[in-house]
C-alpha cells in the first residue's frame, strides 16, 4: 500500500515536472518569436540611422566581417588575416572545396579543447554580401547598409526578415559566443551585446531600414 502511494506520488511529480517544463519552453518560444517579429512604426529616420550605426559597428567587427570577404577566402583573428591552410571559398554555398570544407574542422559547436570555433552551417557569406573591398578594408557604413538592404543581394530579406536574421540566426548568435582560441584565451566579442544588437536592428527596421547617404 505504502509503495503504491510512493509510486503514485513519484509518477505525479514526474508528470507535473514535464508539464511545467513544456509550459516554460513554449512560453519562452512564443515570447522570442513575438519579440523578434514585433514592429511598430514609431522610430524616426534619425533614430533609425543612429541605430544602424550601432548595427554597423557589429557587422564590421572581426567575428562578423571575417566571413563577409570580397576575396576567395575567409579571414581569421582580430587582425583579420587570411585563413590558414589555403582554405578557399568553394562554390556558391561558400563551404569550401571537397577535401577542404569548412565542416572538415568547424563542427556544430565550438571545440574549446582545440580552439576551433563552430556553429551549425558554418560557411562564408556570398560575394553579394561582402562587407569589405578586395584589399580587405571594411566598406563604408552606407555601402554595407545598401548591401544589407538590397533584396537582389540579400536573399530577398525584407526588414522583418533582417530582424529575424540578426536576432535568431545561429551563425549571428555565434558571434556573441565565439569560444576559445587555441591558446585557451577567449575570442574578442563584438562591441554590442546580442540584446543591444537585436534592439538596434529593431529600431532601424521600424524606421524603415534607412541608409546613410554617401559612397
Amino acid at each position: 500500500m505504502l509503495s503504491n502511494s510512493r509510486f503514485f506520488i513519484r509518477t505525479l511529480l514526474i508528470v507535473l515536472g514535464f508539464t511545467a517544463t513544456w509550459i516554460v519552453l513554449t512560453a519562452d518560444a512564443a515570447v522570442e518569436g513575438r519579440d523578434s517579429q514585433k514592429l511598430n512604426s514609431a522610430a524616426s529616420r534619425p533614430d533609425g540611422l543612429a541605430a544602424w550605426e550601432q548595427v554597423y559597428l557589429v557587422l564590421i567587427s572581426p567575428r562578423c566581417i571575417n566571413c563577409h570577404t570580397a576575396t576567395n577566402y575567409p579571414q581569421q583573428g582580430d587582425d583579420r588575416r587570411r585563413h590558414f591552410a589555403n582554405v578557399v571559398r568553394g562554390g556558391h554555398e561558400g563551404k569550401g572545396v571537397p577535401a577542404l570544407t569548412c565542416a572538415g574542422c568547424h563542427q556544430e559547436v565550438n571545440a574549446d579543447s582545440t580552439g576551433v570555433p563552430g556553429a551549425p552551417n558554418w560557411h562564408l557569406a556570398p560575394l553579394s554580401m561582402r562587407w569589405q573591398d578586395t584589399n580587405d578594408r571594411p566598406l563604408s557604413s552606407a555601402a554595407v547598409c545598401r548591401a544589407v538592404t538590397d533584396r537582389s543581394r540579400n536573399h530577398n530579406m525584407d526588414g522583418r526578415a533582417l530582424l529575424k536574421h540578426n536576432a535568431e540566426d545561429k551563425l549571428v548568435l555565434w558571434g556573441r559566443n565565439p569560444g576559445r582560441r587555441p591558446d585557451g584565451t577567449m575570442r574578442t566579442l563584438p562591441p554590442l551585446t546580442h540584446a543591444e544588437f537585436a534592439n538596434a536592428t529593431r529600431t532601424w527596421v521600424e524606421a524603415g531600414t534607412p541608409c546613410p547617404r554617401g559612397r
Binding site: A85, V88, P98, L100, G104, Q107, S113
Partner: protein, 154 residues
C-alpha cells in the same frame, strides 16, 4: 572521462577518454590505429585527415565528444572503398611516396576530392589538395596520381 561508442571503419569501438581529446589521439593512442599521422596539431598540414561521414576531416582538432554516431573512415580501411582502392593503386603506380609521413592524409583528401569530383580540373586539385603539405615536395607525383586514378573512374 567519458565513454564513447565510435563507428570506426565499420566497427563499433568503445573508448573511455576525456571529452576534449582530439579524435586523432583516440585513434592513435586508444585504438592503436597509427596509420593516421600527427603533423602540426592545428589542422594546418592535413596529415591527420580522416573521413567523418564522408567529409575529409582534420582529426587533430575535432574533439571526440563531437563525433557522435557519424562514421569514421581511416587510411586503414580506405582500400575497401572502390575510389580509395584506385587512389592507392595510382599512388603505387606513380611511386608518389618519398618519406611517406604525410601520405595517409594526402590519400584521404584525394579520395574525398574524387568522390565529389571524379574528373577534377587542375584548379580542383590545386584547391582541394592545397591544405595538405608534403615536406618532401611530392606534389607533382600526387597530382599525377590523382589524374591517373580519375582516369580509372567511370
Amino acid at each position: 572521462m567519458a565513454t564513447y561508442q565510435l563507428n570506426v571503419n565499420g566497427q563499433s569501438k568503445k573508448v573511455d577518454v576525456d571529452p576534449g581529446t582530439p579524435l586523432l589521439w583516440v585513434l592513435r593512442e586508444d585504438l592503436k590505429m597509427t596509420g593516421t599521422k600527427y603533423g602540426c596539431g592545428i589542422s594546418a598540414c592535413g596529415a591527420c585527415t580522416v573521413h567523418v561521414d564522408g567529409i575529409a576531416t582534420r582529426s587533430c582538432v575535432v574533439p571526440v565528444s563531437l563525433i557522435g554516431n557519424r562514421k569514421i573512415t581511416t587510411i586503414e580501411a580506405i582500400a575497401q572503398d572502390p575510389v580509395g582502392r584506385k587512389v592507392q593503386d595510382a599512388w603505387v603506380e606513380k611511386d608518389v611516396v618519398q618519406c611517406g609521413y604525410c601520405q595517409s592524409g594526402q590519400i584521404m583528401s584525394a579520395v574525398a576530392l574524387l568522390k565529389a569530383t571524379p574528373k577534377p580540373t587542375e584548379q580542383n586539385i590545386e584547391e582541394s589538395m592545397g591544405g595538405n603539405l608534403c615536406r618532401c615536395a611530392t606534389y607533382v607525383r600526387i597530382r599525377e596520381a590523382i589524374k591517373s586514378a580519375s582516369e580509372q573512374l567511370t
